[in-house]
Each structure stands twice: as C-alpha cells, then as structure tokens.
C-alpha cells in the first residue's frame, strides 16, 4: 500500500476470476459474430470455420458463469437473480441475457444447423452414442428437403437475432463497469463499445487459432482463402478497437480531471507491464503491425500462417491484459485518489491462480467433447453418412 486508502479499500474485491468473466464472454460474442458473417452476410470464405466458431462459442459460454459462481460469497443464492431480479441493476440482467443467449440463440442455432447430421448419426451410430443422438434429435426425424429448407431459414433468422444478442451480451458486460460513477477508471460511456470490439477481436483471434490448430491435429490442409479473410477481419476490428481505446485515453489525458493524476501514476507504475507492455505494445500494436504487413507485402503461405498464428496468440494475450487492466487496475487506486494498493493473487485458494487456469482450460475440454459429439467438419459427416448408405 502506498499513500492513503480508505480503510475498507485495502482489500481488493474482484479477483482474477472476475478478469476471466469478461474475457470468456468476449470470446463467446466474438466467435459468434464471426460465425454470423457466413450465415447472414454471406461471407463464403469463412465457411470452413462456421461450425467450429459456434461450438467454440458454446464451450466458452458454458464456462462463462463459473468464475462468477466461484467468486460469490453465497453461490447458493445466485438463483435469486432469476426469481427476484433488481431491475435497476446491470448485473441482475446477466442471468437473463446469458440464458437468452445460451438457449434462444446459440443452442438453437447449433441444433438447427446440426439437425440433419444428428438424425443421420442417430440412425448410423451404435452403442452409447445412439441414445445420445436420439435424445439430441428431440424427436424430430424429418430431414426431407422441405424440412431442411425450414431449418435453414429458421437458422438464418436465429443468427439474425443472434447478432444484436451477441452485441447485447458483451456490450452489457462493458456497461457493468462503465456505469460505476464511483470509479473513474471504469466510468466511461465508451466502455461497452470498447468491450464489444475487443470481444470481437478476441473471438476472431480464437477461432483463427482453433482453425489452425484443429487443421494441424487432423492433418488437413488449411483453406488459405478462409484464413486470409479471418485475418483481414481481425485486422479491421482490431483497428476500430484500438482507435476507441486511444480515443478514451486521449480524452482522459486532455480533460485531466481530478482522478487523472492518480490514474496516470498507476499506469506508469503498477500497471506499466500489463498495460503499456502487454496490452498496448505486445498485445495490440505488434499484432496490428503484423496483420497489416500481410496486407501490404506478399508473403508465402507458410509465412502467412506463422504470422497469423503469432498475431493471434499476441492478440489473446493483449485482450486478456486489457481485461486485467480494467478489472484489477480499477481497484488498485483509492477512490480518495490519494493512494494505491496492490493485488496479490492466491495460488490454490478459491480465487487463486489454479482455479483460474482450470477455468481457462475447461472450455477447451468442453470444446473437445463437443467436437467429438458434433463434428464440425463437413467431410467427416459426409463420410459417416456414406458409410451408412443414407446419403
């Protein structure tokens, strides 16, 4: 501790788990928006990642509320948010936005898109898989051309509803922070927009990395047209995101209100590594530079793949650092603007490093299971169908 903190401020209230929460929901929103590019905006190039993006979004969405649950003093009371939500609270809406997004958008869209495959797999698979797929059909076995047309139309409509829902999901997470007038580090109307674009950046980068990784593991060729297009979208959204963040920064510096000196000191000391080094230089400027270079210079395929993978990893680090700087950074200074505290992360404590790492790995485990149950690769499905002789 340095300077003066109000006595109750010495203890940080929101830990690394609350850093994970916007990080995970951001990945969900971003992955979904990338998937919707193909479905609604007919960007055919990204089609190979459509299903993978949806499953990635679902895997991360399943895990998203877990850090919150683990953080609550009384997790057993969390259902009260559904029974007696406080309408003026941004956080109270989380349960509803989450459920809407999970059930009405993501699960429904995945089900509609996979319905034909599920029906065929329910008929062709044996053993424990058979009842599972039969359950997943929800009793709907009609895969006639007419029924599939209806599915496609309904899926399109769900995606159309899904885009503003994805915006709502993550814009709202930004609002949770942006609406706290007591905290000048958080309180800015730009916060929901910054969160939204950073979500898109992280989600696109994640799908890009997952596509490259799964192609590597499956030993299949990467569709470079797809990869180039995703990288291009990553660059564009990154530029918008960075512009918004710089706008916020310049505005703060120029206005220099009562909190400025305190926040400025914090950025130059306690947040220097995570904000200046990780978020801005390594996590933003470097990947933007790398991605921009691929647009300006003609690199070989192998070089582009390496650049995209490197830029993708840096992007993920940068966005995680951004979430860290918002959540943890917002608690390092006193609301008296006269002092600073520090954050000491536990290791195997309830809100320590180990649970955080487990929660970061868990979506990948879930995604692995989802991919096993619902293979997102078209050729495999076709193979399965041919083996059964039904297609």
């Amino acid at each position: 501790m340095e300077g003066f903190m109000y006595p109750n401020e010495v203890e940080l209230q929101w830990s690394v788990l609350i850093v994970l929460y916007p990080f995970l929901t951001g990945l969900v929103a971003g992955a979904f928006i990338l998937a919707s590019l193909e479905r609604v905006f007919r960007v055919e190039e990204v089609k190979p990642t459509y299903r993978l993006a949806l499953l990635t979004a679902l895997a991360f969405l399943i895990v998203a509320p877990l850090p919150l649950q683990l953080h609550l003093g009384h997790p057993e009371r969390s259902f009260e948010m559904y029974l007696t939500p406080h309408r003026s609270s941004a956080m109270a809406m989380f349960g509803f936005v989450y459920l809407w997004y999970l059930m009405a958008v993501l699960v429904l869209e995945i089900w509609l898109d996979y319905r034909r495959d599920i029906v065929l797999l329910a008929e062709s698979s044996r053993g424990w898989k058979r009842p599972l797929y039969r359950l997943l059909t929800l009793g709907s076995y009609n895969i006639s051309a007419g029924a599939l047309r209806v599915d496609d139309r309904a899926g399109w409509l769900v995606t159309l509803i899904g885009i503003p829902s994805a915006f709502l999901l993550h814009g709202y997470v930004g609002f949770i922070f942006g609406s706290i007038k007591a905290n000048p580090w958080w309180s800015t109307p730009l916060m929901p927009v910054v969160f939204l674009f950073s979500a898109m950046v992280s989600g696109i980068a994640l799908v890009l990395l997952m596509y490259m990784l799964t192609s590597l593991l499956r030993r299949t060729a990467i569709d470079m047209r797809c990869l180039d297009t995703i990288a291009k979208y990553l660059l564009y959204t990154f530029i918008i995101d960075f512009t918004l963040e710089m706008l916020d920064l310049i505005h703060r510096i120029y206005e220099s209100d009562e909190s400025f000196r305190s926040l400025d000191f914090m950025v130059h000391t306690r947040l220097f590594i995570s904000q200046i080094v990780f978020q801005i230089f390594l996590g933003t400027l470097l990947p933007i530079g790398l991605l921009a270079a691929t647009q300006l210079v003609k690199f070989t395929e192998a070089a582009r793949k390496r650049i995209y993978a490197f830029a993708g990893i840096l992007t993920m680090i940068g966005i995680f650092a951004m979430r860290w700087n918002v959540v943890i950074g917002g608690q390092l200074f006193s609301k008296s603007f006269l002092g600073y505290t520090s954050y000491k992360m536990g290791f195997v404590t309830r809100e320590g490093l180990v649970p955080a790492v487990i929660l970061l790995v868990l979506p990948f485990v879930i995604l692995f299971v989802l991919i096993k149950i619902l293979p997102p690769w078209h050729e495999e499905n076709i193979g399965a169908l041919h083996a059964d002789g039904t297609d």
């Binding site: 003066f4 903190m5 109000y6 006595p7 109750n8 401020e9 203890e11 209230q13 929101w14 919150l68 953080h71 609550l72 003093g73 009384h74 997790p75 009371r77 969390s78 009260e80 948010m81 029974l83 007696t84 939500p85 406080h86 003026s88 609270s89 941004a90 956080m91 109270a92 989380f94 949770i176 609406s179 706290i180 007038k181 007591a182 905290n183 917002g330 608690q331 006193s334 609301k335 008296s336 603007f337 006269l338």
Partner: protein, 243 residues
C-alpha cells in the same frame, strides 16, 4: 379442479416467488415507531472532532465489526498552503486507537469522521442484483444479510469506501446507522460515545430536531457532492481538500 401440466408449469415460478416471500418472514416491528415519520441523517462537526476514536470503538463493539474492517472510521488531514489538492491523510486502524502525535509542522491538521452516507440516491442500492441492499422508508440504507449474494458490486459502486466484505458472513456489510437503536428512540452508538458532540444524529422530518437551526446558521457540505448521491451526512467545516 384438475390442473393440466401446462398450468402447473405456469404456476411454478409464481409459487417459487411466493415461497421466497414466506421464507423472508416479516420484518421486526418496533413499537411506537412509524418509518414514514422519520428521515435520518447525521451532522458531523469537523471543528469539534478531536480524533479520539471513541466512535470507532463504540461502533465496533455495538455492531460486532470484525477487526480490520470499519463501519465508521476517522481520517486525519494535514493540509499545507502548497498542497491543498494533495493533502497528507492517515487513518491508522481506522483511528480506532486515536492518532499518534503529528510530527508534521505548518499547515492545518483536522479530523474527518466517516461512515455510510445513507444516500437518497445511493449507487450501492442501484447496482445490487437482487435488491438485498435497500433504502428504508425512513432513509437508512440497509443490507439483508440473508439475501445478499456476496457479489461485491455494491462495494465497487460506493464512492466513499464505506462498504466491506464481511469475512465470516460472506456478504457485504456497512453502517446501519444503528437502526436497531434509532427505531427504539435511542441515538447511534458513535453519537452516544462522542465526547465532544461532533456527531449528532439528525431526523430531518422532525421539525423540532436541532439540525434545522444548525443548518440555518452554518455552512455545511456533503462529501463528493458532484456525484449527486444525495448523501445525508452533513459536514460542518468541511475543507475543500477532503475526499
């Protein structure tokens, strides 16, 4: 009458809410006390505070406040002519044991007692996801400890640092303005313990309360007025350097 499955499904959420209400029970009733006849606040006279810490000790004892956490505390300000915007402030153990003598010379020294401002438009009650923290009809912000999730959003939303996370209840906690006392006609523990009368409980709805005469003849201020929280802790002699 027979219920269809659809009707049962429709009734379930309503039944759950009703059951919640039954579990919540009735609030404790204080005889001869009508909440709508009062509007509580407090007058804190900085010119009278000597930083003895009696109020902090009394509060901790009365409300079983755990060590290291504070429902009320005292800050000591040291302001020099050149550093009005950057005063030196300390509050060792919330001022519970008083303050060590100040070695600093020059400038002004004064004490500022702090506690929940029981704001009329309190940011903490606004953000609570389940309404576990609420304002009573007599203007006191309270927490339902059997309902609070422990999400700590209210702690983040309080501009004055008045809330803390109770280490054993695992809920948010803060000053209740000794609601168990004031609804029985008593004053708060901190006001009662103050040897100089620097703290005075005020009922703004009571025309006979001395606060009205005081407000007419003194210049009082609330903390962080620019945040428009409707704070009801009125400070006499509040220096511009106080945060």
């Amino acid at each position: 009458m027979t219920l269809t499955r659809r009707q049962v499904l429709l009734l379930l959420p309503a039944a759950a809410v009703a059951w919640e209400s039954v579990l919540a029970g009735n609030p404790e009733v204080a005889p001869n006390y009508t909440t709508t006849e009062h509007w509580w606040g407090m007058l804190l006279d900085i010119t009278k505070c000597i930083g003895c810490g009696s109020c902090v000790r009394a509060c901790a004892m009365e409300n079983d406040v755990p060590d290291g956490y504070f429902r009320t505390w005292i800050e000591r300000y040291h302001v020099t002519d050149w550093h009005i915007e950057n005063p030196h402030v300390d509050s060792p153990d919330g001022g519970k044991g008083g303050f060590p003598s100040d070695a600093e010379t020059g400038g002004r020294n004064f004490f500022v007692p702090k506690l929940c401002n029981h704001c009329t438009d309190s940011p903490c009650t606004q953000v609570c996801p389940v309404g576990a923290t609420f304002q009573t009809p007599d203007g006191v912000t309270l927490i339902d400890y059997n309902y609070c999730l422990g999400c700590r959003y209210c702690i983040q939303a309080c501009p004055y640092g008045c809330r803390f996370f109770h280490p054993t209840k695992h809920t948010a906690d803060k000053c209740t303005l000794c609601y168990h006392r004031i609804t029985k006609g008593l004053t708060t523990a901190c006001c009662e313990a103050c040897p100089t009368g620097a703290r005075q409980l005020a009922d703004l709805k009571n025309p006979k309360d001395p606060i009205h005469a005081f407000l007419k003849t003194h210049t009082v201020q609330v903390l962080k007025p620019h945040l428009a929280t409707g704070a009801k802790m009125f400070y006499n002699g509040l220096d511009g350097s106080v945060r």
